[in-house]
Amino acid sequence: MSILSPEVFIKKQVATVQEYSILSGRAIADIFSRPRYWADIFTQMDSIGVGSLPIIILSGFFTGCVLALQSVTALQEFGAVSKTGSLVSLSMVKELGPVLTGLMVSGRNAAGMASEIGSMKVTEQIDAMRALGTDPIRKLVAPRLIATIFMLFFLTIIADAVGIAGGALVSVGMLGLNASSYLHSSYASLVHGDIVQGLTKPLFSGFIIATVGCYFGMRTTGGTQGVGRATTQAVVVSSVFIIVVDFIVTRAMIGIFGS
């Protein structure tokens, strides 16, 4: 591996940010102009949304279960076991639901996008597409962007719901809490701002997953080894971005809603 001078290294990083920004900008612009590839959009919605459903349900459900188990231990010390439902629902809706769903979908779909597009890139299928008069950003990136943002929104709602249900199952079935009390405190503790915060995050996460996955796919070089590298990079970068953007959105929402 060659050692780069600081100047070359910085130039490469700036060029990467520039290329990513151009790709994202073009994909957004393509959403609002014709032609639109509706068949590709629905195929991606099926792959990203329906295909991710099992892992989202499982991860959301068991996160809710663990959250209830852990929080009861701590809440018992303060005599606030009745607040378990409130803690689980607030944690799921505001934070764990959106972030876990984003990370799970990132692991599954950012990797899938990078490897699929990357394989097309190294076998010249992207060039062939361009040579045949089709814009690959419009055909490959824009449908994935629309589908990821749209489906991640609903996947997050499902993750929130099954997480609260998982918490309820543990609280009632294992810890002997009152079901009505758990559900009431879960519902009552949620305010408008919490829901808005929880459902704003998947919009950003969806954008990150699709654009990062497609970006690393589109810049793949170096044959099958390059495809593997692009896939790993896509998952790592999108996961880190999701967590960083989660912090920024949370801070902005606290600024807007005050809690």
Partner: protein, 288 residues
Amino acid sequence: MPEDHANPGSSSTTATAGSPGDRTPVVRFEDVSIAFEGKPVLQEITFSVQRGQTLVLLGPAGCGKSVLLKLANGLLKPDSGTIRVFGQNIDKLRRRELYALRARIGMVFQESALFDSLTVEENVAYRLHEEHVPEAEAHARVVEALKFVELEAAIDKFPSELSGGMRRRVSIARAIVSHPDLILYDSPTGGLDPITSTTIIELVMKQRDVWHTTSLVVTHRLQDAFILAANRFDPATGGMKPLPKDGPDHGIDEGMKFLLLNEGKIAFQGTTEELVRSGDPWVKRYLA
């Protein structure tokens, strides 16, 4: 300036540039240079291809032949110089205009570059589907193109079910299905056995002699180039036959031109006869 930004899809440009009677070169490179990561790949390349002409690009591996072809299709942008295709400066075209211009260009890739998730029919009909050609008409044109490459039996197969030679023929069918005004062949015989290579060259010749399509053919196989220069397609036999030595062309197709690249620079350009009579030591060594 207005010409650079004209919409190639409009009748004013598509009806004239590259059409019969038009003297504008179909492809014109002027002092084109490109480098990758600081390493020059092509340097000050200047040449032009007239309507109906076949230009064979020869040279050792890695001398920039494929890069030159990708530049001609706007898949790469030059660092300096001007590339005009059908009279339009492709470097100045907007994204949409460039995609519209490519509708007039067919390209055969080195490794075929077929879409592996689509069947042969869907691959060949790809451009027709993009242009919203009615399904029945698209199917008829796909069958016609597959008949041209003698592969109509493979219409429902996937690329993974085809041999290398068959994939290359499908790639040719995909390039010619829309009857383009210009075809770019990137090493159409690369990696194929001699018999399959001859079949592919015969198809290139058939396209040249039946449709008179302007072509740029990249190859590193000298025999491919000389087969193209010394033969013509015979519709009666459905195969190629040598040009008569006592004919007006003296057994060599005068419409064919050669461009030899060496280390990113033009080592030779001219006709077949000029090539074989060249006194340049490097050219002589390359041909030997």
